[in-house]
Symmetry: C2
């Protein structure tokens, strides 16, 4: 077979850049994690350097937070990593490394592709892969393929679940991520006067929440219920039966699970909740670069 | 070509049964409309008689309100026409008429297939065809085909848009159809003390609502806005850009339109509302039987 069976993927997160090299049959050959520089030029240089270290040739895949222009190879809008905006990443990488192509994809979609290829969504006909973290992202798998619609499909985090809900970074009110993201859970914990958590993670909240009768358990049930209400829109619209939950806040999935099911039961027409599978993602923070690499293998 | 190029479709509504015969290239050859009998046995006999009059042979398509079991050829659950439930319609029709197959489909999906074949959704890659009437139904077109998911996709009417909203026939709270169906508009008009409308139709409300400054115009803006919020879930999840609005209450689409756009603007992430097309359905109450007939042509 003349085509090269290995590809490099990179995934830019809020603080860490994860990247790796993977064989066409899904063996991880190399993996890196480096800090994301605050300066756009430095970030571009870092992407080039990491891709070079990983031996990128022919093409690479890039997972990026925000609104992607796949044709022009850049990020149009990225509230969390504004230094990415309007950087000609496709040109920079292909020029510096002599690549034929650079494939850009939204980070939540890249994570969905990773979970679809090698993770919890493997073999799913239809599924929504939810990235539960600072915000809430989603990648929609329909008929075994990533579904993009006109380009931006999968944005479950901005489905509005409560017109009286908090204002969202997108300008809307009561978007799912204002009620069920890690950020929202932390805010709701503070509003209830729960003991302050390490702002960098939610481990303490998740651990205490394992007891459903604890104040943390009650909070996580409510947060999970709001998440389930959001997911129920996908049950109504698409009759989806498989949800894969990843991202940092998925560490609390045990405590969130009963609430998620209650929310789907409340929001979805018919008695379908027992047919719905809520699966933890299995690739952790590697899902994004693995999915990005799979773009280059297609 | 040995296969027969004409098919018969039937569509059972709340009060009227519409049916017809159509050529493979979309010429309507015959069309009927008869009352729906209140008794299940009589309804089955009427379906057989109408299909026979229309010269059904080989196969027919049936559009039916409610939850369909396509394999067994019956309606499992139909809140509006309970006399349909558990009638072995597929067997009855194929037995009485010597048909090879009877294709059953949910009425909103049948209407979507009709609009996709010969109406406003023709040529659409992705679209949601909304049936706005006593309730709100939907048929989802993705990649040019009706999308069913696990079987029940398209239920936009039961997407929950307000947790504080009215209780719905499905048992949920604040489903779209409790706020934006014809029934909901009539209830909201009464709540405001607007002059009573003919309970059989909404023509008066729609006509008075053409003046946006009239009380009826203000009401229809608000009803439209709720409808737009509901549709915005499909914009977020699927990045849909085409909505086709049919059903009896679509007669008020001129007055509902500005509200629908305001609702999509409020509910959808990014400035996408100007890219969204809201199209009136063009097949009227014939969409269902035409779509049902297309099932038999596939």
């Amino acid at each position: 077979m003349p085509s090269l069976p290995e590809r490099v993927g990179l995934d830019v997160g809020g603080t860490r850049l994860k990247a790796g090299r993977i064989s066409f049959d899904g063996r991880v050959l190399d993996e890196r994690s480096v800090a994301v520089p605050a300066d756009g030029k430095e970030l571009a240089d870092t992407l080039v350097a990491v891709a070079r270290e990983l031996g990128a040739e022919h093409s690479v895949g890039l997972g990026l937070p925000g609104l992607i222009d796949r044709e022009r190879g850049l990020v149009l809008d990225s509230p969390n990593i504004p230094q990415l905006e309007e950087l000609p990443l496709g040109e920079l990488l292909s020029g510096a490394l002599g690549l034929e192509s650079v494939h850009l994809e939204n980070d939540a979609n890249a994570a969905a592709l990773g979970e679809l290829w090698l993770g919890a969504a493997r073999g799913a006909e239809h599924a929504l892969v939810v990235t539960l973290g600072t915000g809430i992202g989603g990648g929609l798998v329909l008929d075994g393929e990533l579904f993009l619609g006109a380009g931006l499909a999968g944005e479950i985090g901005h489905v509005r679940i409560d017109p009286a809900g908090p204002i969202c970074g997108c300008g809307g009110h009561g978007c799912l991520e204002t009620l069920a993201s890690a950020t929202a859970a932390r805010r709701r914990a503070l509003e209830r006067g729960l003991p302050e958590d390490d702002p960098g993670n939610l481990e303490l909240l998740a651990e205490r929440g394992r007891d459903p009768a604890s104040p943390e358990g009650e909070l996580l049930f409510e947060v999970g219920r709001d998440l389930g209400i959001g997911l129920s829109t996908a049950v109504c619209l698409l009759d989806l039966r498989t949800f894969v939950i990843g991202g940092g806040f998925a560490a609390a999935l045990d405590a969130l699970g009963p609430g998620i099911r209650a929310g789907i039961r409340a929001g979805a027409y018919g008695d379908r909740v027992d047919l719905v599978r809520i699966l933890p993602a299995t690739l952790g923070s590697s899902a994004g670069w693995i999915g990005a690499a799979s773009l280059a293998l297609r």
